[in-house]
Amino acid sequence: MRLLLQLATRYAFSRQNRHRGTSVRIALGLALCLFAIVAVLSFMQALQRNQFEDIRTFESFDIQIDLQSNDYVTAKEATKQIEELESVQHAFVYADIPVIAQGIDGSTIAGRLRGIEGKGRFLSNLNSYRGFLFQEGQIASSYSNTRSLDMGESITLTFLKKGRQATVVPSRREIEVGAIYYTSSYDFDHSTFLCDVGTLLALQGDVPLKIGVFTLEDVNVVKGEIVQLGYGQTNTWMEINASLYGAMELEQKMMALMLFLMVVVILVHIRNSSRRLLLAKQTEIAMLRAIGLTKAKVQTLFVLQAVVVAVIGSLVGIFLSYGGIAIYPTISSYVYRSMGVHLELEIRSMELLVLFIVIVVFSLLASYHGTHRILKADIMEMFTHDEVN
């Protein structure tokens, strides 16, 4: 075994090895493939995580309770009772009204006016660019809309409310922009004006109120607890965004398929490389057999060599992956500029371990299969043919 190990390491990467270039190319190919998979996986997962986080933080919160009433006092009592649940982090009243905003330059923005008791994750991720948020009688527009609406301006909001004669009856109000805010979600910022619940109710008193809930527990379990309290219709963020969530799940499946294809590419690379490496060594295999090395030992020798190359290639790939994650913060501003999102990349160790094992095991099998094919030939056939099939 000692002899085989010596030969295997020599055949893999030794300076004296004529085929070291082949081994290095194989290892490098493995490293880059592994790095590519990890990079794509981390980016996709971070993007999805980011989107889900934005949805849960700004759009629909973890759980939403539709009170179907505009009684603010009752709504506040309900939030108190809900907040008393151990599983609930924060509960707050809010309401949305669809609006069309018109700036003084005449340009319009279709969106919503959200009256909300800023609390929990929502508040901590809300940033004021100028002015003070949630001032009574004023609204906050977003940084992304500052080209058409700016602080101190009065804008005309057109509310689309249900009417008796017509389906929707437009009603207009003028209101001052008292603050400019921004969040990490461009979509939310672009379509939302913010104000406190009192200002919203003053603008339109018959708007149905809702309660938003943040939790760190399983949303379905918490939903069950809230339903038992008997307040209106309760939905989780996944139910509210069912179509988006479905699309994301589909995206996740497609991502898995794409990664599977990348793994297949890696495996084909391993198989071809292993074959190339063995064919390059065919004459030496014949020589070793001629001087008395058994088939089993030759097979062990070249399987060991393939494993050494695969392990080193994979370790370099893992090193590159962690290195990439480590230097990502220095290029994250570029990603933000081009994609409009702040991503926090991470590597899931278990996924990496599975990839590592798949690569090493497949290298082992490819090499075993390759040597098995070569060793089926007579020794002299190995000597005389360029390639034994």
């Binding site: 002899l3 020599r10 055949y11 004459t283 001629a290 001087i291 008395g292 090395l293 088939k295």
Partner: protein, 232 residues
């Protein structure tokens, strides 16, 4: 019972190859070849190019399988041996010298000989000692750490001789060992081979088309029309 002096015995050995890699009518190379080789004796097989001399050597050593016939090496029927036993026989009782040396290219002269000894079961230290001794014997003590591509043809052949003899085999198979060498180097290798074979009482099966070289063996066979006959 007296111990047999026969090292190698071939009886009615035949070998053919398919006409092409895709098959076709087989081409008969050897037909009913019978010969024997005793301890401490040497035989030479001569014949025209393509007559099957190398095939005969390869079949005799179990490097190539025969179609039919019996091949006994030290009393053991080679075609019936499993890989484990045949490999052991090759490493301990047979030595090979090929026309183009065929050293392990990635290894030094010393390692080439040492690996052969290690495969035969010697420890690394013992194998190294034996390799060193053999390389000194063939005059390669100054080229121990040189790899194959740093050695001349004659030097490579001397390393090959050292490797063939390091495990003290009972028979050396030499296939045109001077075929690719110039006259001076060929004469050197010839002398070395015959002196070592005589000194170590090793049997020798020599394939050559060089008649003066062949005549230094005890018996000279000629391969002609697929059969061997003693050359007069």
């Amino acid at each position: 019972m007296m111990k047999s002096t026969e090292v190698l015995t071939l009886e009615q050995v035949s070998k053919s190859f398919p006409a092409t890699l895709r098959g076709g009518e087989p081409i008969q190379i050897l037909e009913g070849v019978t010969l024997s080789l005793n301890r401490s004796t040497s035989i030479a097989i001569t014949g025209r190019s393509g007559s099957g001399k190398s095939t005969l050597l390869q079949v005799s050593a179990g490097l190539l399988s025969a179609d039919s016939g019996s091949i006994r090496f030290e009393g053991k029927e080679i075609p019936k041996l499993d890989d484990e036993h045949l490999s052991r026989l090759r490493s301990r009782s047979m030595g090979f010298i090929f026309q183009s040396s065929l050293l392990l290219d990635d290894f030094t002269a010393l390692e080439n000989v040492q690996i052969s000894a290690m495969i035969a079961g010697f420890s690394e230290k013992e194998a190294s000692r034996k390799a060193l001794e053999m390389l000194e014997l063939v005059g390669m003590q100054d080229r121990l750490s040189h790899t194959s591509d740093q050695l001349s043809g004659g030097e490579r052949q001397r390393v090959a001789i050292a490797r063939a003899l390091v495990n003290e085999p009972s028979l050396i198979f030499a296939d045109e060992p001077t075929g690719s060498l110039d006259e001076r180097n060929a004469a050197l290798v010839e002398d070395l081979l015959f002196s070592l074979v005589a000194e170590r009482e090793v049997a020798l099966m020599l394939i050559t088309h060089n008649l003066p070289f062949a005549k230094r063996c005890n018996t000279v066979y000629q391969l002609h029309n697929r059969i061997v006959e003693v050359r007069s």
